[in-house]
Symmetry: C2
């Protein structure tokens, strides 16, 4: 890990190394392409690292399938949205035929939310910790349906609760939509209880699992969830802007109408028929031709996640975030940091938010020390741990480097945050 003296205290290093030595997932780290030596990458919650197999599969798609196979390769490509969808389905507790890879998360949220409120109750419930893009989309969908978006105010650390949702429900609400893991605090919502509360009130549920898929076991069917969307470029390591997915519970597929009637959603897409007839199953929620190279790249990380197993991934995730919180409490709280993520491991996803008034400058200074984390305005540092490649040692190093920067004041040489700049 680099040539400079490691800044983490020796006791922490030894403890972290012991945890890493006992890590059943340790071998997966070698399946990722190399990064710069010494890099501590704690931003897999934004863009996951590249599985080496993703590159080789894309190369084959370029050289064999596109260059040589040409249009005949569509016989294989046309099945990818379903095939990769089913692979994701196994990670989210869905049956075959309930998940389809298509479009981007915002487009999918639009399609499913519009379909859901089209059933006749135009108001939508969400919460103020939901991803802003989700709130923008849900707001426009509710308005177009003649309803409104009801935004629950939540605790900035703990996120939305089932009680909050229950209190917001009445017969005007057709849809309840939240992020499974809050993008800022990392709070993990109680999918089962919230879904049950919504169903009790006659509303459908639409979960955004972008920040939980691949790192938290998800049980969409078992929880009774109606609909879900998610992306593949965070903990699934699908690559930059890799296509997103939709989940629609099988009994709902035939009775929801999504508004973007592209030919890939047609019952017989290659008939080029004059009239629209929606596919009976999950294909109904497709639109146009999917970006094949990006879709091919997404397969490797999904397969690796399935091989590693979500129980082992979850156990390591909690171990990593627990260590991070423990060290932050000990070493960073005295320097003005606040842990802004639930302390109960069962109540958080796989990133930890630390608040500090110099968060932006710290993020910049950390990059120059080869520690990559996220900044979220105005004062939040997000440190994501990805159990397939993140080590306990990296967590200990990151905390030590943050401490070193603040103690020495080296971040003060960096400019303050300006709106519009990340």
């Amino acid at each position: 890990m680099g040539t400079e003296p490691a800044p983490a205290p020796r006791d922490d290093r030894e403890r972290a190394d012991r945890l890493d030595a006992a890590d059943p997932l340790a071998l997966h780290r070698r399946e990722f392409a190399a990064t710069d030596e010494g890099l501590v990458y704690l931003d897999g919650n934004s863009l996951g690292r590249m599985p080496a197999a993703a590159a080789s599969q894309v190369r084959a798609a370029l050289e064999e399938e596109w260059a040589r196979g040409l249009v005949a390769s569509w016989e294989r490509w046309v099945m990818l949205p379903r095939r990769v969808g089913d692979a994701i389905g196994q990670l989210v507790g869905a049956r075959p035929g309930e998940v389809l890879v298509t479009d981007q998360t915002s487009v999918n949220l639009f399609k499913l939310a519009t379909a859901a409120v089209g059933v006749g109750r135009p108001d939508i419930v969400t919460d103020d910790a939901n991803f802003p893009s989700d709130r923008y989309v849900l707001g426009s969908v509710a308005a177009a349906a003649g309803g409104e978006l009801r935004v629950i105010e939540t605790d900035p650390v703990d996120g939305v609760s089932a009680d909050d949702v229950t209190a917001a429900l009445d017969t005007g609400v057709g849809l309840v939509s939240h992020s499974h893991v809050a993008f800022r605090s990392g709070a993990l919502a109680d999918m089962g209880t919230i879904t049950a509360a919504a169903a009790e009130a006659g509303a459908m549920t639409l979960w955004d699992v972008s920040h939980s898929v691949g790192v938290v076991p998800i049980e969409l069917r078992r929880s009774g969830a109606d609909l879900a969307v998610g992306c593949t470029y965070k903990y699934l390591n699908g690559g930059p802007g890799a296509p997103a997915f939709v989940y629609v519970r099988d009994d709902l597929q035939g009775r929801l109408d999504q508004p973007i009637r592209g030919w890939w959603s047609h019952d017989d897409m290659f008939a080029f028929a004059s009239d629209y007839a929606p596919a009976p199953g999950i294909d109904r929620f497709a639109t146009g031709t999917p970006p094949i190279l990006s879709l091919v790249a997404a397969q490797a990380g999904i397969a690796m996640t399935a091989r590693a197993g979500l129980d082992a991934i979850r156990a390591k995730s909690v171990s990593l975030t627990s260590l991070l919180i423990e060290l932050a409490d000990r070493d960073l709280a005295p320097l003005g940091f606040t842990v802004a993520t639930p302390r109960d491991g069962e109540r958080r996803g796989s990133h930890v938010a630390l608040r500090h008034r110099d968060a932006y400058r710290l993020t910049r200074a950390l990059r120059d020390r080869d520690v990559v984390i996220d900044f979220r305005a105005p004062d939040t540092l997000r440190l994501g741990v990805a159990p397939l490649y993140t080590t306990h040692r990296e967590v200990a190093e990151a905390v030590a480097v943050i401490r070193d920067i603040v103690v020495t004041g080296s971040h003060e040489a960096y400019p303050h945050h300006r709106a519009g700049v990340t």
Copy 2:
């Protein structure tokens, strides 16, 4: 061109070779990755061949940008939709800032059509030669706005005319939307006259240039067009499912509201603000995170097209389709084929439709003779010529092989077309 005796008559071969020898674009063929030796690929109207530079740029995006640069590469990637959009803009007669790469064509058509009819006139005019997906999407947009889709019946060869459009217009029509080149017959619509007729009646225009971009000079601004969409995987050789683009004339960008309010359309996307504020310019028509690997791949073909120049490309396209029609008239008409594409070179795009009752079986038989073309149910063969790599010799060979198959009856060993199978 292969080891078997070439079936084209010697006179045709010599004439084709003379035309190819004088072709100013001939050198561009070498910029594409190799295909199987002897392959005659006339399906670039469906999926263009792979520029070798596309593969090397994707490899760099994988190995350097994703694997090593990781999340920091977003500083570069975030500009790609605008940058590649501007490169396309130069091919469609747009100004910088009027074209954005985003989503897929059906999604873009939905966004722009919804924005246009949102202005208050809910009916949409299209034609029965428009791509089915466009008709499906436009139909659902009109219905959601409380209007209807008015579908002009057209001549199956000549496509939509300005007179047709004028006759369909009244004060209920907010939008006129057609394909610039008809996907089946190849008819090239008169963009300028139709756009003027729509404007005269107070309707906006939304052109789908998927079958013309990169092969027909397009003058969106000069024609007065309001809106356009198109894909990059046909004559732009962008790769399978490469992302699509939108054109919104600059004076309209600030006053149209598109319905899918993803964070990439926000005025300050990285602020993660609670409230939605649309970007003032073309970014307003973005949605979510674009598929970067597919977007990177699209750049090489766009750049090659710009270098080659659309006037030279168009001249060669007309030369290739003229030769194809001439040989089809001489050698295939006596065998039951009909040319179903305008005979005036100025009135067609870059593919030729031949109708024959055994079209499906012929398409299959041709593939086994290394001639790749498209079948469109029930009876159409589509032969697309892509001037950056298609040769006159290939056109002569294709006609000769079709003739040979029909004369020998070798296609009769193949199964008939069944609905749902391509």
